[in-house]
Amino acid sequence: MKRIVYLIPFLIAFILMVSCQEKKSDIAEKEGLYEVTNQSSCVGCHTNKALLEQVAEPLEGGGGEAGEG
């Protein structure tokens, strides 16, 4: 029983830490900039075409063929 009593503060701290952490997807929603994605890592963005279409910026020139030879 004593063991459980000692563990309670740690459990409360753990629960608070997890529940108060602001999730990256929440930020995206709040900012209203991007669709929600589960990952904010490189792969999370760069494999999500719909997301990239919202955030990728067009380059000047737009491509085509070039060169001297």
Binding site: Y34, S40, C42, V43, P58, L59, G62, G63, E65, G67
Partner: protein, 383 residues
């Protein structure tokens, strides 16, 4: 070549993630910060120099590619596609031996106008060339053989690409019936003749693309060995290839090709590109190119071409190299205006009766730079 959309340029596929390169952490090659929130500001920060973001890792091939591909990267450091040494050296020939890299203004002008034609590993094997704004060609999947259209002719497009694919057909000023290269019609891509070892180099710092190294110079006779057969029935080959006066193969087997005037640095000779077919003397005869006559094209250079760069180096020895130089057209056909003898009185009529049109003479030079062009091309004029 249709450009990639903004999203397509940076989209990564599952196929890449499953590939050997996909097993490497993104940040191992690209740096950056993967743990940023999804805001616009954070996106910029994640891809910032402060976070050590590297957009084009293969610009530092020894660092990022060399640990697995050192057999290639150790040589490619000195390859012409990477060093652009050919540009620098040709400039030196016309500038009294002065190196533009030693003049900050000239170097800046070069970096702005010419350096985009530099190529790294990635520009052939994973992205499109930076000169056409780059972008992941196959959603980051690496490929051994570059795409003819989206890699090779993305840079080599204005002459080679258009001629090879027959894109001048129907264009104003070009002869009727101009065709794509016969090798293109057979399905051959650039790499059929231009192999990897030519692109990667052998580690030697060459100074010119017309290197005297048989391994790097695709020759027609590599495949068409019958042309050199002393017992051949082909009298043209006997006379013009095996005879005492040798012609470059293209003289008979090329169609009309492109010459250029204006250079994109903004000064110098002006005017649009134009169709030509000109035979000149071989001003650069060597073991690999022992022809007496070659096809030549006008290149977009004049004594004042680089004046807008504001540097202290000028082209004081402009006439040390011709402005009509090796053409190397990529529009080969067996039957051309020169070889087709249909309805002619004798076998050489198509060509020999058109010498006034075909042979390069002083009348062909640009009148705005008459003296310079006459001196520069003196070794090339046939009459």
């Amino acid at each position: 070549m249709a450009p990639l959309g903004p999203a397509e340029r940076v989209l990564v596929s599952q196929q890449f993630l499953n590939s050997p390169h996909g097993q490497i952490k993104c940040t191992s090659c690209h740096g950056g910060d993967p743990n940023t929130p999804l805001t616009k500001e954070a996106k910029a920060e994640a891809h910032s120099a402060q976070k050590n973001f590297v957009a084009y890792p293969s610009e530092q091939a020894d660092t990022y590619c060399g640990s697995c591909h050192s057999d290639k990267t150790s040589k490619f450091d000195n390859a012409l596609h990477y060093t652009q040494e050919g540009y620098y050296q040709r400039f030196m020939v016309r500038a009294g031996g002065q190196d533009l890299r030693n003049d900050p203004k000239m170097a800046a002008g070069f970096n702005k106008a010419c350096a985009k034609c530099h190529a790294s590993c990635g520009q052939c094997h994973v992205i499109r060339p930076v000169s056409v704004n780059g972008g992941l060609e196959k959603a980051h999947v690496f490929y051994e053989t570059p795409s003819m259209v989206n890699n090779c002719t993305a840079c080599h497009g204005s002459r080679v690409g258009e001629e090879y694919r027959g894109l001048h057909a129907g264009e104003e000023g070009w002869p009727e019936g101009i065709k794509a290269d016969v090798h293109y019609n057979q399905g051959f891509q650039c790499t059929f003749c231009h192999k990897g070892h030519e692109m990667h180099g052998d580690g030697t710092l060459y100074t010119y693309r017309y290197v005297d190294n048989p391994d790097f110079v695709p020759q027609c006779v590599d495949c068409h060995q019958d042309v050199l057969d002393p017992n051949t029935d082909n009298q043209y080959h006997k006379t013009h290839v095996q005879g005492s006066k040798k012609l470059e193969c293209q003289i008979c087997h090329s169609q009309t090709y492109k010459s250029c005037n204006s250079c994109h640095v903004g000064k110098g000779i002006t005017g649009h590109s134009y169709p030509t077919f000109k035979i000149g003397k071989n001003y650069m005869k060597n073991d690999m190119r022992n022809y007496d006559f070659i096809l030549v094209r006008h290149i977009p250079i004049a004594p004042d071409t680089y004046d807008n760069w504001g540097g202290s180096i000028s082209l004081t020895t402009f006439d040390a190299a011709p402005t009509w130089k090796y053409a190397t057209p990529h529009n080969i056909q067996r039957w051309t205006s020169q070889t087709d003898t249909t309805g002619t009185a004798w076998c050489g009529e198509s060509c020999h009766n058109n010498f006034d049109k075909y042979l390069l003479t002083p009348a062909d030079v640009d009148s705005n730079y008459l003296d310079a062009e006459l001196k520069a091309n003196a070794p090339v004029f046939v009459k």
